[in-house]
Amino acid sequence: MTIAIELAYLIASILFIMGIKLLSKTKDARRGNILSSVGMLIAIVATLITINVVTFVEIFICILIGTAIGIYYATKVAMTKIPEMVALFNGFGGLASFAVGLSDYFLKSGTSLESLDAVNLTSIILSVLIGGVTFTGSMIAYLKLDGKVSGQPITFSGQHLINLVLLIAFVVTSVLVFIDPTNLIFIGILIGISLLLGVLTVIPIGGADMPVVISLLNSYSGMAACATGFILNNNVLIVAGSLVGASGIILTQIMCKAMNRSLTNVLLGGFGQTVATGGQDGPAIVIKEIGVEETAMLFDSVSSVIVVPGYGMAVAQAQHVIRELMEQCEKRHISFKFAIHPVAGRMPGHMNVLLAEANISYDKLIEMEAINDEFPNTDLVLIVGANDVVNPAARTNPKSPIYGMPILNADKAKTVIVSKRSMGKGYAGVENELFGYPNCLMLFGDAKQTITKVVSEMKEMG
């Protein structure tokens, strides 16, 4: 019987691996996700076989509650709110691993102490630490993304010192747990420190850095699952957990590279606060405005368009009306593409999902490296709700906090139209010198409303 169950876990692990492998091609991706969910089902059923039948009632109830919440949330959530949902679910996963670790601790410390060996204790301590940090960290990330807590970095003096002291206290208390495993006070201190560390490490991180934080927390939730695998001596937990851990780390690296910053720099936080004065020494930017009608006429006269979407497009819910704009342009045989910066939006790939939702074919969404050489030969670039990712200061101004960050060369196009609510600064708090360029025109107003007007003007032109 045990062999059958172990084999089932092996099959589940293989299905997870195949599922991720299929994600490398967009057309196979959906099948990959289904394979991975079948793997999960096999792992659950195999585990249920080992479970005592008497406990099936409460297990059934818990699974029912979880399934209902999961399905309800997953089918209702708006595509613009995916980052919030991922942060929330990450937190749930972290808390689950945290609870499994503690459950095992209370079980073993209550019955036979000899089963609480060094490996076991280490794994329990790690799952409490990683699970706890993942839980509270993800909750703060969720609250920040959802606007319930300010997206601005929250910093205070001695922040890093406090984190360091907490970490040292954690290590010291862990040693005490090894000396006296049944002392509940020590475990309580470990729980408290873990939860506090999650809060303290995420609050100093600003809104624009959220893609990095979500990726990192994603990785942590996998590592927490790994730690529970070591507690329960279970390979499928370790395989699945390390796949997720690796995935999160890779995404974190990609995000950091796209912002030209090190992970330490992001995690220390407070980005964008000290630079608020930096804009004052330069000459004031003189901008040119453009109206809706002129914009429509401009679109009517060009032969190639590239749209640069940013988080502002998601906020304004402008992706559907941009598809209508695309249809109008394609009717006129105008080449129409999208340039996607890796950190556009609030999580990796956020823009792609929104544009896919608006029924825009994915082969029109071009990555930064692939499209950057096309800008000089492009007639018109429309920037919707993006700012820092097109700021030429990243190339030209060594004093700028975003200097060195790879950007989309939107400024090299013949004409640039920026759809923007007002003359606010980007999330990095930096003045965008692109707005003052001679080829740049500002289209002020809510992106959805102004572009809707542009589209109806174009329809009238026929």
Binding site: S24, G66, F89, L95, A99, F230, V244, P348, G349, A356
Partner: protein, 95 residues
Amino acid sequence: MTVSALIILIYVLVLASYLGFELISKVPPTLHTPLMSGSNAISGITIVGALIACNEMGYTTLSKWLGMVALILATVNVVGGYVVTDRMLKMFKKK
């Protein structure tokens, strides 16, 4: 746990991590959001641990209650994660 059992678990950890790095670096950026929500669902594998933790008679022990909380949370993570990933991937079309 014996040392040899621990070594095998560490082997699995190291090899699976390497495999994960290889596979995930090939996922195109356009699918990074579904990758994240999908891998989020996979991290719900801790549901296996939660089921084992629930396997205790009666409702008197703390470990039982923690197991049940873990089971609900892990189920939300697994079911919600897979459903929302499928919803997203369904939208990725080429015309």
